[in-house]
Amino acid sequence: MSAIPAPFMQSLKSALVAPPPVHQPARLKPAMNESQVADEPPLYVRAKAPEWLPRLIAPLIGFGLFLAFWEALSKAGGQLPSPLSTWHSAMDVFSNPFYKKGPNDQGIGWNVLTSLGRVGIGFGAAAAVGIPLGFMIGRFRFLSDMAAPIISILKPVSPLAWLPIGLMVFKAANPAAIYVIFVCSLWPMIVNTAVGVRQIPQDYLNVARVLNLSEWKVFTRILFPAVLPYMITGVRLSVGVAWLVIVAAEMLTGGVGIGFWVWDEWNNLNVQHIIIAIFTVGIVGLALEQFMMLLARRFSYDDGRQS
């Protein structure tokens, strides 16, 4: 018990005392209630902390517990560096993210950008192939029946299993890594687009039919806008998978990239840098996900389908 530091006990206590987080959709502004209260004097006021407070405190407590656990683990022995030493190391790494000292020693900024570049190219190629393919598979039953068994078999295969074939075909590490990203991004894009096409309400297609619209008009005015939300979901899943896979692929192929950086630092036994890389990968992944969510919200026509 004495090994557990005081801050840990404190944050544990406050976690137990803190009110449970309020579950409500994030879009609902908690401030709305208060402004209504301010307009009319309420009959009675119950002493109550503002609603956003637990929502702000809960993640802080989460981080606190996480750091305390980490600290405890590093104190318990082994080679795990403490959070503080990792922080200092991170300050050092991020103080000069864009240096270049030869092909295998570059700043973390270059490594992240190189990985993002690979993801971008592989993913872009997958979108260029997968989205039209998804449209066709969704629109024509015959194509769907043709492609379904192949997709079903290939989809569960780990993308890394494709790497040897990539190396064999391209005879170079970089295109092989991009090709792995391409393969793993392809399936979600095809499947979601096809599902989207199949989910188009019959009403909309009936409109197209009674107006006898040209194929081009049907595509631009009905199919494409109706499928767009599904497509963005596919894109979002693909980017997520691609970002997961790139780290592993780069570990195998080497060169410049965040995955290779992790492997390189492992060879240097620089565990702090490995932890920094883990957080960097996580934060970049989160940013990608949030960006896609923003995009999805921009193109969703909520509740328009109903009533």
């Binding site: 009403d203 909309y204 009936n206 409109v207 039919r209 009674v210 107006l211 006898n212 619209l213 008009k217 005015r221 009905i222 806008p225 109706a226 026509y301 909520d302 509740d303 328009g304 389908r305 009533s307």
Partner: protein, 268 residues
């Protein structure tokens, strides 16, 4: 115009189902004059919407054929303006764009976009929606959506309007209001002969108020036309004034008699 503008001749409709062929419609024969308002009424499932969809070209009849202005109907086309029960507006287009899509389909080859925009605005104006034309469907009420649906059909200047329970999903007050509007829109005007309309409904009052003739369909399977009642009430019709007249009540009870006595359905 001659006596038969829309001619439905011995139409059968058989669907292939898992349990074998299902005969939905049997020997439908109906002629509609130009400018006439005809309602199809019957219990749900009697195939009245199926018949409308055949006229719209969305379904192909198993037998028989349909002539509109002496041309055979072989598929869907913009010469028939369809209004669906659930409005079927495209949610990513504004009301204006929804209507414009239809106007453009018909007139793009002969008119410039300014003229087609004018048509679109005119159609929306006709249903009193000019103030909301740049709103999206989810921003307006159910009644307004249905108005846009009607405007979309009108903007194509179709030979016939096909209405599939157009007001079925609306509340009673909105429905009454839209029925009055529809009467005004399809009535013969100073420069038009009046629209030809085929409407599916299950509302007896709606059928009597709006129609020149009401076609009553028997229950399926193999539904067919049971009786046809001529609604000889003078136009323009006033909902309130009519409701207390003897003739209106007689027509109304004739319809009810058919639906609830002759074609009574076991509780479905």
């Amino acid at each position: 115009m001659n006596g038969k503008y829309l001619e439905i001749d011995q139409v059968n409709m058989v669907f292939d189902t898992k349990k074998g062929p299902f005969c939905a419609l049997q020997g439908i024969k109906l002629e509609i004059r130009a400018g006439e308002f005809v309602s199809l009424i019957g219990h749900s499932g009697c195939g009245k919407s199926t018949l409308l969809n055949i006229v719209a070209g969305l379904l192909r009849p198993s037998a028989g054929n349909i002539l509109l202005a002496e041309r055979e109907i072989r598929g869907p086309g913009p010469d028939r303006g369809v209004v669906f029960q659930n409005h079927s507006l495209l949610p990513w287009l504004t009301c204006f764009e929804n209507v414009y899509l239809a106007a453009e389909r018909v007139f793009a080859s002969t008119e410039d976009s300014a003229r087609m925009r004018e048509r679109t605005a005119k159609a929306l104006d006709m249903v009193h929606l000019d103030h909301a034309m740049h709103k999206y469907p989810h921003e307006i009420s159910g009644g307004m959506k249905q108005r846009v649906g009607i405007a979309r059909a009108l903007s194509m200047e179709p030979k016939i309007l096909l209405l599939d329970e157009p007001f079925g999903a609306l509340d009673a007050l909105t429905r009454a209001h839209l029925q009055d509007e529809l009467m005004r829109i399809v009535a013969p005007g100073a420069n038009s002969a009046g629209s030809t309309v085929l409407m599916v409904t299950h509302d007896v009052d709606e059928a009597v108020l709006l129609s020149d003739r009401v076609v009553m369909m028997t229950n399926g399977p193999a539904a067919t036309i049971g009786e046809i009642i001529e609604i000889d009430l003078p136009r323009p019709r006033q909902r309130l004034a009519l409701a207390s007249t003897l003739r209106y009540m007689a027509l109304r009870s004739a319809l009810l008699e058919f639906l609830y006595h002759k074609q009574m359905r076991e509780a479905a």
